[in-house]
Amino acid sequence: MKKLTALILGAAALALAASPASAELKKKYKVATEGAYAPFNWVDPDGSLKGFDVDIANELCARIEVECEIVAQDWDGIIPGLLERKYDMIVASMSITEERKKKVDFTQKYQDTPARLIAKKGSGIDPENNETMKGKTIGVQVATIHEKFARKKWGDVAEIKVYDTVDNHNLDLANGRLDMVMADSTALDFGFLKTDLGKDFEFVGPGYDDPEIHGEGAGIALRKGEDELREALNNAIQEIRKDGTYQKIQSKYFDYDVYGSET
């Protein structure tokens, strides 16, 4: 009903005068995160969203003095939802890539960790040796840099299987339906290897950071043209990095720096 009223009011407002686009920050923003990517973001038993991304989002909102409401959104619809104005920012460890930049704007990075493969302990798989990769199956999350990278590097020798969430491909790895999965090394380490389910698995091969695919780290995605908001967030990211708040937040989750190289 409210929306209908707003619709009528909106139409009336337009009839009176086309208002110029406001250049200031709004008071309230909606922030989307996935909620299935521990330890970056997950849904807690009390139903609330938790994790590194959520803490960073709350801190940044406080710094730029706006009120933020964090909502969960499935990964496959997270960019369309932003474009449809369902929410105003995505803080979901989304990598800044050229392909995504065609649709959305990004702030500077707020975390950057390499992508890695995991396999069963003692599998003898060497990702750099195609002989050991032949006929193997690799699980990746749909529409991620990991899917692109795995297809590019091993698409000819191994079978790439896509999943809706990282949790689901990890479950299939544990069930023995996959030989390997590729994802962000931090998410795999803290969300899988260090849990009971992942105790028989280990990293194989090096960390991958192909600038063309992996981009320049993970940033906050915004609709195009929200330059004031982007500038404010960029400043806030640098501020919390400098005054130690960032380090305080990440020490809750990780025992190393997930920011990657400065610059």
């Binding site: 619709l7 909106g10 337009l14 009839a15 086309a18 038993p45 449809e84 479950l171 849990t195 389910l197």
Partner: protein, 229 residues
């Protein structure tokens, strides 16, 4: 005892959303079913055609597709229309509403057939007799038709209810936090799909067993005064 890692309360919240969604859907389905059944038996050809088109088309489309259409399709269409009028904000069909609408409309088509059969099962002679003594049509409907229609329709409606209850699980795809989605979220975080989907299955089973008891009571009540053979 099974360890739900604190997600037990979330599962119960999901259960309550499932029950609410199912109840709203069945109310919508029964209303639509009554209307469409009346239209199908009406004297006017146009009404008959509309009701026929409804049951044929809706029963021929998977409820899953209809749900996606309502949730994703309509909000986009509404937004495009709104933009024409200069309203440039996000319009969302709430998942609960989209889910109840889709499931209610689909199962409304099935209840239509249940009610049509039940109405036709009332012996014609009784209606003629009522008319012969000059009974007004509303009174005829209330005293002669409805009590018997309900009796004939209850078993069929019970069947629709049981299927509908389980069909609400589809609403998880539009991000409605009902039982199935809660189970998926909890399974994802705890990495224990077996536990949580088993709990969800058990809760659905409790709902259907409870429904069966209720339906039996309803059947007995609607058939009171009828001699058993």
């Amino acid at each position: 005892m099974i360890d739900l890692h604190g997600y037990g309360w979330q599962m119960l919240l999901g259960l309550s959303v499932t029950v609410q969604a199912a109840l709203c859907s069945i109310v919508l389905a029964v209303l639509l079913g009554l209307l469409a059944a009346a239209a199908k038996l009406s004297r006017w050809r146009a009404l008959r055609a509309i009701a026929e088109a409804y049951t044929v088309s809706i029963r021929g489309v998977p409820e899953y597709v209809l749900l996606l259409l309502v949730f994703f399709g309509t909000s986009r269409v509404l937004q495009t229309i709104a933009r024409q009028f200069g309203y440039d904000e996000y319009i969302e069909i709430p998942p609960f509403f989209a889910g109840v609408f889709a499931i209610g409309v689909v199962y409304g088509a099935f209840t239509t057939e249940v009610f049509r059969g039940a109405i036709l099962a009332v012996p014609k002679g009784q209606i003629e007799a009522a008319k012969a003594v000059g009974m007004p049509s509303f009174l005829l409907w209330r005293r002669i038709l409805m009590p018997q229609v309900i009796r004939y329709a209850v078993p069929g409606l019970g069947n629709v209810w049981l299927v509908l209850l389980k069909a609400t699980a589809l609403m998880s795809v539009v991000n409605l936090d009902e039982l199935t989605r809660k189970a998926a979220i909890s399974a994802g975080y705890t990495k224990e799909p077996f536990t949580f989907y088993m709990v969800a299955a058990a809760l659905y089973l409790c709902l259907t067993i409870g429904s069966n008891l209720g339906l039996e009571a309803l059947e007995r009540r609607s058939s009171r005064g009828v001699r058993r053979a």
